[in-house]
Amino acid sequence: MSETLERPDLKVVGTRPIRPDGADKVTGRAAYGADYNMPGQLVGKVLRSPHAHARIVAIDTRKARAIPGVKAVITGADLPEVASALHQGGEAASNMRDLAMNVMARDKALYEGHAVAAVAAISAAKADEALAAIEVTYEILPHVIEVEDAMRPDAPVLHPHVFTEGLEAKPDKASNIVKRSGFNRGDVAEGFASADVVVEGRYTTQPVHQGYIEPHATVASWGADGQCVVWASSQGQFMVQTYCAKVLGLENSNIRVIPAEIGGGFGGKTTVYLEPLALALSRAGGAPVKMVMTRDEVFRATGPTSGSVMYVKLGAKSDGTIVAADIELKFQAGAYAGSPVAQGCMTALACYDVANFTITGWDVVTNTPKVAAYRAPGAPIAAFAVESAVDELARKLNIDPIAIREKNAVVSGGKAPYGPTYQNIGYVETLAALKASDHYKIPLGPNQGRGMAVGFWFNIGGLSTGAIHVQEDGSVVVATSNPDIGGSRASMAMMAAETLGVPVEKVRPVIPDTASIGFSMLTGGSRTTYATGMAVVQAAERVVADLKRRAAALWDTAVENVEWKDGVATCLDAAKPDARPLPLARLAATAGRTGGPISAEASINAQGAGPGFGAHLCDVEVDPETGQVTVLRYTAAQDVGRAIHPSYVEGQVQGGAAQGVGWALNEEYVFDRDGRMENPGFLDYRVPVASDLPMIDAILVEVPNPRHPYGVKGVGEVPIVPPLAAVANAVRGATGVRIPDLPLSPPRIMAAMEKAQG
């Protein structure tokens, strides 16, 4: 477990208080997206394309409009034309025109489930009746789903205006290949020539969904005066505001977005699907509109992450030094451009100090739902291929898998493959922690295997606002504009309390709507505790400076003579022996006499977010007669900088590992011949259940990031990067067969074992 290094003075950071919003969540009072209603609201529903690729020739809504009780019917024609421009609303820049067309199709339906019309009615039954009465004339087109099929010159082209970027010669023929990216270092040919051993492999993964248990839900009201209110479950209320404004051509200040509790996101709720439609329906229907997705819609119509085909070639010396790497990543983007292949390229070798490499990434549109972010987007996919290949190297050279990672490990001061030098990283420390773990010493039984893999994520900072409001009695409210998915309210209250020197129970965190606090980028990119925490600490520091100024005024002494410690101002002025200490409550009660209410808000662009590293160990047993995999033990070590609330940091590590295990063993989108998803439900889209997993031992390694007042590094995304390969390498150990294709389902393992036995 973790202990607080070098900061024995910390009283709150590093402890495990009960989260301040916990009571509502365990008593059922917390209000999520579907738990909110507005007076007079209508029920909104979406008509979705049954075809994977079709031109929309005509949509006749007359019958639907005529049904009594149906108040609004809209199609793409009712939404404004949006210019093609990049916007930094989510995190990676996204194209607003594509976003608008993904919210509601215009001339073409590009995946089964693509929204083509929407209705609002006085009841769900009337809304269903309206959907059934809409007549859409489709011209069905050939579709393409598998990424290499989509790259072929004769593949059906989704977008006639897409010409591949990043090629030497500018192509003259439209293609599904949106862009080539990548970078290289040194002389790859020379590197391979000098290698004693070379491994080469083709690896594939399937689209997988974030799998949050709460379906998307919203209630939206378009006021008669054009002022809108949106209640939405999302990873960022300001993101919802901005995207609704862009899609509908409104001003941000006319859209007030109230953040509902969010029932899981993992990157999948960093964009909008329903909110712009609910607003447009509300305007047309003259009443608020509530929309809730079915689970079927969540799978068919909201972004999974990319399916991929990857080629990895590694060359190494006999002592294990990797001297050359040639990596090619082909990722599905779904209906519109923008897969995370660039991040896949940048993270593929991020744990390795390799002199010669070339990494190429292809972003390819396919007739599948537009890809959305999924926890360290792109990194788990690339790591599955690279970490499997490194495992093959280790086996060929008969070197311990941890040792070969140590041999090639990046260290602080070393250069990252994507360019800059690393600072204050804790990578080799995670390897050491894994080697020292009890798990690593447990002997394996028959049909059992142990797999190991490592992972990296950048972690980002970005724009955040934090505000501290001292109440009249000296209790404190800390307001931030980041939705709390995994317990961030607790860490905000803890950082505020630590800085103010008051008990954490005295600090109440709140998450106001977009009209009640300064802007923040959304909760994602493992940034919230880092960047929003930094803003909270700065706001708290301004309050402390203000409190010292006020105490000095009350004692009539210079502010330098005031010491603030443990929530009390004490006077150091020898000339004022009778100056009694002034606790926060006293200063709050006399705030009027010393200048007014005690409040501070800090809005920053937090720079210097430190990258995170993780090393995972997984033991499995494989039934030789059926190919079923049982996960016996799982240990995950991760550099977390400094854990503010260790329980929730462990929770991120355990949750990420569990998602990775599901991704490795059972999760995948299955499409039929017509490009329709065959398993849009939790029965046949198999996320791990409680009995599938052992306890997951999270080892928190703390190498503090000096750029944060309490040494914080992002922790949320690293833990999903190693598990795909950790499980795959364990299955390799248990069966003696390398299976380079996910998921490792029993039929696939059985077929591979049979083929190996000849």
């Binding site: 989510g90 990676a92 974030q210 990157g267 940048m346 994507y418 800059p420 600072q423």
Partner: protein
Amino acid sequence: MAHVTLNAECAAFTGGATEFDIAADSVGRLVTELDRRFPGLGEFVEQRMSVAIDGEIHQDAWISPIGPDSDVYLIPRIGGG
């Protein structure tokens, strides 16, 4: 003079060159100088790139300072899940 390395995507604007020494004490001034030398590169960097200064990644970094002999890298913007 800060040592600046562009990534492959920027090289399309510079005719392939990726390494420069540029006297600029802030990201804003660096971007302005790059745009002066290679028209269009400035906006491209602003929209698509993050700036790593001595190992630290800055996003939307116009006012971030650059040291006299800083090591500067332009890398694709990083999103998260």
